[in-house]
């Protein structure tokens, strides 16, 4: 509901209710007052009537009294001569202006009467009784339906000799007099037993009086108006009745009436006045309500629109209107200040979303946007992306608070750098970035800059030298999009970190290599399921017999799109991405199954497999292998293990434990790639190692490189002294084979013997194999 409608309705309701209540109360009071006054007038009228009748009665009685005392009258009565009585009564009745004359004997029997039969019983027994008791009777009687004021007096001569009565019809003279005195309408009416009007005189017009009396007859006879004033049925008159006389045959009333119109004329005038005042008030209220609602709703609408605009993000300087009403003005002010608050908060949020909370440097999002903007300008620039070397260790050692301090200090320094450094960002935990407005950063300048940044920082009262790695990319040389530049800077930084250098500039193709690695890591998981992996087997030859003694199982992966993937590449990726366990499991199961197959074909072969670093420290590995042996019916001599030194070195204790268990199972363990890693003999001494595999890098050019020969020779001698057997891999020609044989190397492996072969080629190759002949010439 609109505010205007609502306010209007409320105001109108209030006004209507109050006006109605007041009006009704006032009118009712006025009406009651008018009625009360009318009632008073009627009562006064009734009293006047009573008084009038009393006075008349008194006068009549006096008149009749004089007559009754008249000696002549008495003389005539005493004669009891009917004729005389008649003429006497007529004569004296006329003198008193009576309408009825009657003489009765002492018992009330009519002796002579103008209206009654001679010797009939007393027609007014009630009055007669009263007269007998009190000596005179005055009252209203009804004779033949007509009401008379009747006086009944004794005739004494001097003893009581009879009763003389005279009646005076209650006629127009009475009603006219009452009407003249009181202004009230008065009717004298007599009803017979049937309720019909028998006699009627009235100050009303004749016809009106007749109809009125006909209508009110029943109610009158029920006593309706005699106890209190009442409106007559048609509501035209306020009526008050007083019973003049009632007997079994007739009832006579004086009905005093006051016209309702006359009574309520003032009242109805007042009613109309009040009604018009109410109407006027309503109109006025309506106008005021509309005006008032408008004056409130108009600024409210303006406020609502302003709020909507603010919500849509528009900025409003001032809100028009609403200044007239204090509250809306206040609301407008509040809205404006709210707008300011929102703007401030938005700015804060925006800043926070684009800045690092700790260092207050712009963050990666800002960097991205800024780069896009810089690219749009087309001017060349360089990105220098830093990471703090071993930041994690710093945090662990000194606590995060000091780590943060380090970051803040570095950030501060980056911001302080002079042009052409344009802007500094914090991209990630320990990664910071500079945008430098130059296509190429000359080395000197760069080193000076990094030196400046890496100055010692006082951390917890001790000086620390922050060591930074930096990756550098240039626009447009290394990419023309922010994405590309950021990724390539990351690759460059990664390169620097991996090689523990302070700086690395992006080299073309690194990105592609990076992408290839990502793809390989992703696809490696599916390779097992899709059957893209297979095993190749390369034989090892026993130099003493020239026979094949063992095969090394090598994993191969033919990628559906990239083709053959070198094992060094994908195994390294698998180790880095944590998928190496998957490959190991597959390989173990596959090799054991293959051994079983070969066994079924009648070849009891031995295979060496390579264990990764995670395999070596897996305490469940011995049990796993044991289960495989059980299920494929293999013997321990059929499986040998090769581990690299670096794999063992990652967790020497766990690896030692696992290897010991495997060794106790009867498996032979070889150290792979011996000579390239730490080559810690102390470690090897502690390990349950059976063989050393001299890395092929020493073997490949054994025939030409004297140093290699020396290393190999001494390694073989040392191994033998330690009770280890020596395997040389990478044997590619007979010269090298001969040399190794002469050096008493135990086993040879390499292209000279055979390339790695698929499993199904092994049996055929073995059948065709002739033991190789080695010259045992000594080497000096």
């Amino acid at each position: 509901m609109r505010f205007r409608t609502r306010l209007t309705l409320v105001l109108l309701t209030v006004v209507i209710i109050s006006q109605l209540a007041t009006g009704v109360a006032f009118l009712r009071a006025t009406q009651n007052d008018a009625l009360a006054k009318g009632n008073q007038r009627l009562e006064v009228g009734a009293r006047v009537l009573d008084q009038l009748l009393d006075i008349r009665g008194e006068q009549l009685r006096d008149n009749v009294g004089i007559l009754a005392e008249d000696f002549g009258f008495k003389s005539a009565v005493a004669t009891k001569d009917t004729g005389t009585l008649y003429s006497v009564l007529a004569n004296y009745g006329d003198r008193a202006s009576a309408d009825m004359v009657m003489l009765s004997d002492l018992d009330g029997n009519v002796l002579a009467s103008s209206h009654h039969e001679q010797n009939s019983a007393m027609p007014f027994p009630g009055l007669f009784q009263r007269a007998q008791q009190t000596g005179s009777g005055v009252g209203v009687v009804i004779d033949n339906g007509e009401p008379y004021e009747f006086v009944l007096l004794p005739v004494r001569a001097p003893n009581l000799i009879g009763w003389v009565g005279m009646g005076f019809l209650i006629n127009e003279s009475v009603t006219e007099e009452i009407n003249a005195l009181t202004g009230l309408e008065i009717s004298i009416v007599t009803y017979d037993a049937n309720g019909d009007v028998n006699y009627l005189v009235s100050s009303h017009q004749e016809q009106l009086a007749m109809s009125l009396m006909n209508d009110t007859g029943n109610r009158l006879m029920e006593g309706a108006y005699t106890t209190r004033h009442q409106m007559s049925l048609d509501n035209d008159y306020l009526s008050y009745a007083s019973t003049l006389m009632a007997n079994q045959e007739y009832q006579s009333f004086a009905l005093i009436q006051l016209s309702r119109d006359e009574l309520l004329s003032a009242y109805s005038r007042l009613q109309w006045q009040l009604l018009s005042i109410v109407a006027l008030m309503l109109l006025l209220t309506l106008a005021v309500a509309l005006w008032s609602a408008r004056s409130i709703s108009k600024p409210l609408i303006a406020l609502a629109q302003a709020a909507k605009l603010i919500g849509q993000g528009e900025r409003i300087e001032r809100i028009s209107s609403g200044s007239s009403v204090k509250e809306t003005h206040q609301l407008a002010t509040t809205l404006l200040s709210m707008q300011e608050d929102i703007a401030k908060r938005e700015a804060t949020l925006l800043h926070q979303s684009r800045h690092d909370l700790l260092t207050n440097l712009p963050n990666r999002v800002s960097a991205f946007e800024d780069l896009q903007r810089f690219i749009q300008t087309g001017k060349p620039f360089t990105l220098l992306r830093f990471s703090i070397t071993d930041f994690r260790d710093i945090n662990d050692t000194f606590g995060y608070e000091l780590g943060d301090h380090l970051l803040v200090t570095l950030a501060h320094r980056l911001q302080e750098l002079p042009s052409p450094v344009m802007k500094a960002y914090r991209l990630d935990g320990d990664e910071l970035m500079l945008v430098i407005g130059q296509a190429d950063l000359d080395r000197r300048r760069r080193e000076a800059m990094m030196e400046q940044i890496s100055e010692p920082i006082s951390l917890d009262k001790s000086l620390i030298m922050p060591s930074l790695s930096a990756g550098e990319v240039s626009y447009p040389t290394h990419g023309d999009s922010a994405h590309l530049l950021l990724r390539r800077s990351d690759i460059a930084l990664d390169q620097a970190r991996r090689h523990r250098r302070s700086h690395e500039r992006y080299i073309e193709g690194q990105d592609e290599q990076h992408l290839r690695q990502l793809m390989l890591i992703r696809d490696l998981q599916d390779a097992v399921d899709n059957g893209e992996l297979w095993m190749a087997y390369q034989p090892k030859m026993d130099t003493t017999t020239g026979n094949v003694c063992q095969f090394e199982a090598l994993m191969r992966w033919r990628h559906p799109t990239l083709g053959f993937v070198p094992p060094d590449e994908f195994i390294g990726l698998a180790e880095r991405s944590g998928n190496i366990g998957l490959l190991s499991d597959w390989m173990l199961a596959h090799v054991c199954e293959q051994l079983h197959l070969w066994k079924c074909q009648g070849h009891h072969l031995s295979v060496a497999i390579n264990l990764s670093a995670s395999d070596v420290i897996d305490p469940g590995l011995p049990m796993h292998i044991h289960e495989l042996f059980e299920s494929y019916d293999l013997t321990p001599d059929q499986l040998a293990l090769e581990v690299t030194e670096s794999a063992v070195m990652q967790d020497v204790d766990a690896a030692t434990e696992t290897l010991l268990a495997l060794s106790q199972m009867g498996l032979k363990i070889a150290v792979d790639d011996y000579g390239t890693g730490y080559s810690s003999l102390a470690q090897i001494k502690r390990l349950p190692v059976d063989e050393l595999k001299i890395d092929k890098s020493f073997v490949l050019k054994l025939d030409t490189q004297q140093e290699d020969l020396t290393i190999v020779r001494s390694t073989i001698e040392m191994g033998h002294l330690l009770g280890l057997r020596i395997v040389a891999e990478g044997v590619e020609n007979s010269v090298s084979a001969d040399i190794l044989s002469q050096l008493r190397c135990d086993y040879l492996q390499g292209y000279w013997i055979s390339k790695p072969m698929p499993a199904d080629a092994i049996t055929g190759w073995l059948e065709a194999f002739q033991p190789l002949q080695l010259s045992a010439a000594s080497i000096n």
């Binding site: 007998q132 003893n159 009581l160």
Partner: protein, 226 residues
């Protein structure tokens, strides 16, 4: 118009008869009659008639009813039939004595000191006297055929003379018994009977004579003139 004993008197008649039967053997002596109203208040000026067989009828009399101080004196007079009553006026005002009673209707118009000739009452009955000038003046003359008729005294009693033995008819009248003045109490009495008669007074009581302001003035005027 004489009215004989009415039905409602019977209880008294029976009671009287019973008394007679009981006392028949007692020696003859004079009886006393007491007259009261129903409430037992003695009634003065009640007329008691006793009828008995006698050879001589009552002797006719001439009596005076004096008008003094605007009143008849005595109020009640009983006379044998055929007697005369004179109306001497001792007041200084004139009186107009009249009667419309059936027993004797007469009219003695305004007279002062010259007493009109006595009026002869030859018919038995109650004659009510009035004065046309003084409405309050009223007197009764009971004209009686009975051999014995007399009035009760102020104590309401009347001592009867010696009567012949036996039971006799007795009538009692009092002015307040009935307005028509024709109603009598009827009963029996023996010579030795002491009897009390209770009368029912039906007459409308007369207003006590009060002087209207006019009468007062006139009276004062006459008093002063003496």
């Amino acid at each position: 118009m004489l009215t004989t004993c009415k039905g409602r008197r019977h209880p008294y008649s029976l009671w009287a008869l019973g008394c007679l039967a009981m006392m028949a053997s007692l020696p003859v002596q004079a009886a006393t009659v007491s007259v009261t109203d129903n409430a037992g208040i003695p009634l003065e000026n009640a007329v008691i008639e006793v009828y008995y067989d006698t050879s001589t009828s009552a002797e006719t009399l001439t009596k005076n009813i004096v008008q003094r101080d605007a009143a008849f004196n005595p109020q009640v007079t009983t006379i044998p039939t055929g007697s005369y009553v004179a109306f001497p006026n001792e007041d200084t005002t004139r009186h107009h004595v009249f009667s419309f009673s059936p027993a004797k209707t007469f009219n003695l118009e305004l007279f002062l000191s010259e007493t009109p000739p006595p009026v002869h009452f030859e018919q038995a009955g109650v004659v009510v006297l009035g004065c046309n000038i003084h409405d309050q003046m009223q007197a009764f003359i009971v004209v009686s055929d009975a051999p014995y008729a007399a009035l009760t005294n102020s104590a309401g009693t009347l001592e009867l003379p010696e009567l012949p033995a036996g039971s006799h008819r007795m009538r009692v009248w009092h002015s307040r018994m009935d307005d028509s003045q024709t109603v009598w109490w009827e009963g029996e009495i023996s010579d030795a009977d002491n009897t009390t008669v209770a009368l029912t007074l039906n007459a409308i009581p007369r207003q006590p004579p009060t002087l209207s302001p006019l009468q007062q003035r006139f009276q004062n005027a006459t008093t002063h003139s003496h």
